[in-house]
Structure formats: structure tokens, C-alpha cells
Symmetry: C2
Subunit: 114 residues, 2 copies
């Protein structure tokens, strides 16, 4: 299995709007081959931002990479970049400080609760 | 739900030993109230380290905090700190650069695959 994580440094005054953008979006992820689960996470508040992170579990790295090459991925991420301001073209104050930070992980071990 | 993440900067030459330490350890996590799942993750290689991360999903922040106050938690983490060298008392070269970095997250949204 493979995890795709994106970390977002969100300006504190934009945190509610950022959350709502994620919670209200339409997603076709459950239909994508190899998609297993998605978590949207709100993390610690730092000096100038709140750390948010998305955590997407895939059956394999190949499944994730196939999704990133699909037209659906391109259109979904173009829309998100415009809303967060990470494409630096928005006239509004961007929600995030800089672009999101991507980290890909190989899953070495899974332990499930009883 | 709540996620407890620990991020480890592991020296490249210690990566295999670090993985084996995790994979071979005995854990009683599945018996801990509120524990849902655990992922051990191997992430990107950077200039001087490989990023590893643990990702533990809990029913609530309270369940996680109760676990951190248990004697089982203290003994498990004391042993791990000695092995990784993060307690700075090991005579061997430590496996990690500095201590692990903890990040706690509130789970805002869960989407599961079909």
C-alpha cells in the first residue's frame, strides 16, 4: 500500500473557509481504482499558520500515479489551487502560505484494532 | 477521531535496522481502548536522512491521551528511545537525527473506498 500526504500551512483567519472548501467539495475518489481511504486532518497551530494535512491510502503507488495522470485529477486540482491561492493568480489573499507540501510513503506495517 | 503522527529523520545507513526494530517489536496496541489502526510509513529520502512516519488513528483525543499516561506507554517508549538513540544516552551512533517530531490531528473528514 501507498500513502499520499499533502501538508498545507493555512492562515489562521482562513482556517474555517479552508475546512469548508474540503468538506463541501464533490469528489469521485471512491470510484478511482485502487483508492482505499481518505482522511482530512486539522493539526497544530503554529506561529503564523495552522497545519492541515490530507492522508490518502492507495492499494499501490502505481494506483496513485495512475490517478495523478487522469483528466479528473487535473481538473480537481486546478480548481483547488485557484481557491486556496496556491497558484498565485488569485486576487484574494491566499488561504495558504505557499504551496502544499507533498510526501509519498510506502506502507511498511498495518496494525488494526480489535 | 484523532491522529497521532510521529515523524523520524532516520540516517540512511540505519534505515534497515530502524524498519526491523518496528516490524519485530511486540505491541499491545490492539488491546488499548480507543485504538483503531496503526500505519508505519517509509517516506522520501532527503539529503541527510529518510523520513519515516507512524500514523495512529484513535477513536478520540481522550483515548490517545489516556494511552500516553499508561505505564505500558512509558515502558514501550523508553525502550524505543534507547534503541533509536533519541535519548542521547546510547553508546552507538543514533539511528535518528534528533528526536521524533510529534503532530496531533483532529480528523475532519473520512472518505472510504467502495
Amino acid at each position: 500500500m501507498y500513502v499520499a500526504m499533502n501538508r498545507f500551512q493555512v492562515r489562521p483567519e482562513a482556517a474555517t473557509a479552508f475546512e469548508q472548501m474540503w468538506l463541501k467539495r464533490e469528489t469521485r475518489l471512491p470510484e478511482v481504482p485502487g483508492f482505499l481511504s481518505f482522511h482530512m486532518l486539522r493539526g497544530p497551530q503554529r506561529e503564523d499558520h495552522i497545519l492541515f494535512s490530507s492522508y490518502t491510502l492507495w492499494a499501490s503507488r502505481d494506483a496513485f500515479e495512475a490517478w495523478t495522470k487522469s483528466p479528473q485529477f487535473a481538473s480537481a486540482h486546478k480548481a483547488a489551487a485557484s481557491k486556496t491561492g496556491s497558484d498565485q493568480k488569485s486576487e484574494q489573499q491566499p488561504m495558504t502560505i505557499g504551496s502544499s507540501q507533498f510526501e509519498g510513503f510506502e506502507v511498511l506495517q498495518v496494525i488494526d484494532g480489535k
